[in-house]
Symmetry: C2
Subunit: 368 residues, 2 copies
């Protein structure tokens, strides 16, 4: 549950007015409607606030901290996608995750590709299928090639997975041709959300060479309905592991943007894994510097995510493919059922708490 | 030059009113302002027309065919990006291109990956850096790893390339979870434009394993300012090569959507190559069916491109990397200069004509 001070931002509708968006902050398990508090909230989303830049962000944080008004129980509103997603980029920033996947996908070779420690690897995902927490996740169909088969087959995904990730929401845009240095991270990024990057591993394995993941990821990406401003995470800032490696100058950080955030992933209510974000090799400031170093611009509403957060421990991996060794070692849940992959009806809930006890909300979704 | 009948749609501004968008059709080398002709054009872009669907598209084509009014020389207006780009996907649909690149990137192995003839390979690109023809292209900087080097280096791209492609503009959206069959292609896709998918080959080669192209592509993608409706291309429809292969049912076409379109690529005015689109293996109806078969939705303004169009002949490749064999065999231009890759100041112009003599416009850009 959110404390009374964090006041993350969101957008909701009600059953009485299902098409009327209202902007809000969370206070405990209630929402405070801020739509009429300031013109930046007038459209009921965070779009105008995001575009307004760091001075307004700081002002508004004071304003909403002092705001009072009727509180509505969260259970009485419907949380919506809080901002319009422009481009969506997914990174691959956890060394433990990349190592685990390298071992599974390319056995017998060095698990990390030669470029991995030199740059934050990333790729573009589908912005149009980013959905808010609670949206039902339909099991995708597609092509896969079973081991030993001559030809690919078509059918429902048999290896549906979750990926626990941290998302970064861009506010201030940048100009085409002008890279954003690591030191300007907080001038452009407004805050964070939680991300579940649902993955169809059988589709992904067959399609991803040579141009990367496509249909194995594009059917849905869930995000938490709350955006927590960077300003609430000051106590959580830590040195990222990449700081101790030899980096090209544009990737060196002026100040640390690693984040000490503890994730928890629950499957049908059972705690599945506790990935520690602080072990993530690349910081989000490095991700943004890399994303723009070629002159690519960012826009208000761009979302970039860390990639799966996995720690070194066996109970710290942020995806089933790691936890079950690609299905070879199914998990037994406390209710006695086993899971190699997600079953129809399964509900995944990912929550996180930042150092200092700052709750970051949760992203949930049910399959089928 | 456009004939008087094609009447492709675009959006322009003028020096007198640089922020006021006006919708238009091209008539020869002049533009006819249609902003006040119908409410769908009221915002001066094609966004509302695209969303309106096939019945309105057909009506509007009759309306603009009969429209009269003052014609303004193209030289007196500034053409703008004609629609708001939602998601951008780039395919890899030319067998000759994929074979040529496979030989260059993965020598000694089978040039086509095992999946290539079973599905149209594609990946998401950066929608926020799609720019209209004429926008200057700044040479990107980034990491690359020179042959034989121990460590990557940072600097301006040394292998800047062009890619001649055909783009497809989505009008009618689809619902999340509901695939668009090949037979519904023309219900969703409004028309075509020309695309130059600028590529930094040295950045791309270092970054693209395992998650695909990222900074090697994301700095800029140029599109022609005119969208030619599918209705103007009826005479150009041909059977695509994939029709003669064994395909999973969702990729079989009810009617042929291959297109007989002849591209021409000019470098500083000199004809460089003439890629024939009709040789493209996968049709755009197959691309859309694949893109959505996992339940991914499309939105109004989605752009998907064919990937580089290359024919079987040595003078039919749609990129420099193919024409110069990755720089090993530089081209000599008629002015006596040579090019392995694009030089600062180079201007690339890509134009195309569909069977029946339908001019499709051009996409131009100058480096630096």
């Amino acid at each position: 549950m959110f404390d009374a001070e964090t006041r993350p931002y969101g957008s909701f509708t009600t059953a009485a007015h299902p098409t009327v968006r209202r902007a809000c902050v969370a206070v405990g398990d209630q929402v405070l409607d801020v739509t009429d508090l300031d013109p930046v909230f007038a459209d009921g989303t965070l779009d105008v606030l995001l575009a307004a830049g760091p001075v307004v962000w700081a002002d508004m944080r004071s304003t909403v901290a002092a705001a009072e008004g009727p509180l509505v129980p969260l259970a009485d509103v419907r949380m919506e996608l809080p901002f319009t997603v422009s481009d969506y980029v997914d990174f691959y920033a956890s060394e433990h995750h990349a190592t685990n996947l390298g071992r599974l996908f390319r056995p017998g070779t060095e698990p990390l590709t030669p470029n991995w420690k030199h740059l934050p690897i990333g790729y573009h995902g589908r912005a149009g299928t980013v959905v808010v927490s609670g949206t039902p996740i339909r099991r995708p169909s597609g092509q896969s090639k079973p081991a030993g088969a001559d030809q690919p087959v078509f059918g429902p995904c048999a290896r549906l997975d979750l990926e626990a990730e941290l998302g970064f929401v861009v506010g201030t845009p940048s100009a085409l041709g002008e890279p954003v240095p690591t030191g300007a991270f907080a001038d452009h990024v407004f805050g964070v959300c939680l991300v579940n990057d649902w993955s169809a591993r059988d589709l992904q394995a067959w399609e991803y060479v040579p141009l990367g993941p496509f249909l194995g990821k594009s059917f849905a990406t869930s995000v938490s309905p709350w955006v927590v401003p960077l300003a609430a995470l000051e106590q959580a800032r830590v040195r990222p592991p990449s700081a101790d490696t030899d980096l090209l100058p544009y990737l060196r950080e002026k100040e640390d943007w690693g984040l000490d955030i503890q994730f928890e992933v629950r499957l049908n209510g059972h705690l599945l894994t506790r990935p520690p974000y602080a072990t993530t090799h690349w910081s989000p400031a490095q991700m943004l510097a890399h994303l723009t170093v070629n002159g690519a611009s960012v826009r208000t509403g761009d979302l970039f995510a860390s990639g799966t957060v996995s720690g070194p421990g066996a109970d710290q991996a942020g995806s089933l493919i790691e936890l079950t060794r690609a299905g070879a070692e199914p998990l037994t849940l406390p209710d006695g059922t086993t899971r190699a992959w997600l079953a129809d009806g399964d509900e995944v809930r990912i929550s996180a708490v930042a150092a200092g006890g700052i709750f970051l909300g949760e992203v949930a979704g049910r399959v089928g």
